[in-house]
């Protein structure tokens, strides 16, 4: 067993600090997920509509967010908004804004893709069966769309959780930053601690993302 330097985690309140850091990361990503899913569904539905101007605007929004690295978006919101408008958003608020904008953009494209993947004959068949438009959507289209969306959105949600490791650049002390602080504070007494601490961070991220994957698997099976 190599020396993982895990004893540094037992010093003082280090474990609690790490867990508090995980909570910061989860809180920011879950608030953003809760915001971006409904916005994404609305935008995605609009993208399949007929309004060309609206579609063009949404397309530009999507491409802009998708091309920009998240770090640049974080800097634009955190520092840029102060320079341009004199706003002083906190690091956490900036992170939620960026992650919601990003999540909504990605989600809208997933919703658009899922919607157009439902073949036209599904609509025609239900019409032939005498279902109204609302009934068609409620009983035929939405259930199928949702099932197709689940694996895709889980992928997005876990990506959002993992990307919170960037927000240390705008001064938010989350799990990665706490890990670096612990490693550095013990650089001389336990020089090998980096491996052990990052291993624990990996486990914590895993424990946070695993239930989400399980839920997805359950839902997929239930809605088959």
């Amino acid at each position: 067993m190599p020396d993982l330097g895990l004893e540094v985690l037992l010093k003082g309140s280090n474990i609690m600090r790490l867990l508090a850091g995980l909570w910061v990361a989860l809180r920011i990503s879950l608030i953003s997920v809760a915001g971006s899913i409904p916005i994404g569904i609305i935008l995605g539905t609009l993208m399949t509509g007929r309004n060309i101007v609206l579609k063009a605007i949404l397309k530009i929004y999507l491409e802009f967010i998708r091309i920009m690295p998240q770090l640049v978006l974080l800097f634009i919101v955190f520092f840029g908004s102060t320079r341009m408008f004199g706003w002083q958003p906190t690091g956490e608020v900036s992170a939620v804004i960026v992650f919601t904008l990003w999540g909504a953009a990605e989600m809208s494209d997933l919703v658009r893709g899922a919607l157009i993947s439902i073949p036209l004959h599904q609509y025609e068949s239900s019409e032939a069966l005498g279902l109204s438009k609302t009934q068609t959507y409620w009983y035929i289209i939405i259930p199928q769309t949702l099932r197709r969306l689940i694996p895709l959105s889980i992928n997005l949600i876990t990506r959002m959780i993992k990307t919170t490791s960037l927000i240390l650049m705008i001064g938010v002390v989350e799990i990665m930053k706490v890990a670096q602080q612990i490693i550095e504070a013990n650089r001389r007494s336990s020089p090998t601690a980096a491996f052990g601490v990052y291993l624990v961070v990996f486990l914590l991220y895993f424990l946070a993302c695993w239930p989400i994957s399980l839920l997805a698997k359950y839902l997929e099976r239930k809605w088959r």
Binding site: N14, F75, F79, R83, V173, E184
Partner: protein, 296 residues
Amino acid sequence: MKNLNRIAAIGLALTITLGLTACSGASTASTNGSAEPADTASSGDETYRTLDEIKESGEINIGVFSDKSPFGYVDENGDYQGYDVYFADKLAEDLGVKANYISTEAANRIEYLQTGKVDVILANFTVTDERKEEVDFALPYMNVSLGVVSPSDSEVTSLDNLTKNAPVIVISGTTAETYLIENYPDLTLQKYDTYANAKNALENGNGVAWVNDNTEVIAFAKDNSGFKVGIPSLGSNDTIAPAVTKGNATLLDWVNKEIQTLGKDQFFHKDYEETLVDTYGADYEEELVVEGGKTK
């Protein structure tokens, strides 16, 4: 990754240009939230807070490193510690306000000052000409330069008479590398990517000496018997100083006066003895500490 960096740079440049053009009309609004720096509102168009505004708010926002032991780090109880923080605590105490520490990174220190998100940066900030254009530096409180460490039995005390067959170890991308290429073009450099690899190389005798920041080599020699710092300061002597937002004259003057006053009580020597002596030993105190803002 290179591409990402380039895009990031372009994006930043864009925001900065946009910001500068829009800046003239900007007035700094304040919002009240729990985890945010104390009220950053200011009178007039400036992004920074004057000395009086800081005193009034009862809190000074200080940008420090939270993972650069022993200068600025967070201990196991979650408290900020280190040479920079020891000084920051004193600043806040003498100003009669509470210190609100904000964790900064090397790459965003200037941005934090320019947007008024911190009042002072005390994050081991080396004074350079380029940075002077962006922020205002106060008087220095520490020296940094390069140092050379080598095995005790074949100590290198000068780089001038090293031959081509005596490679010198450096870490790529550091100031040490740039300095050696410029000033000692005839030296054979052996470059490593990480601290750990360079350390192994020196221990295995791949090179005759290792050139790095003098704080790093001093700490290395102290931790590893059989190695000695042959040249404790090489090349141009740089200094570390507090920085404030450009134009924040009231705060700058106060910090300068404070550093001069503290010099009378040998405050930074005490700071060194409290925070750095474990890492660097007592031998280098005079080498590293700048007292009262006066460099030798």
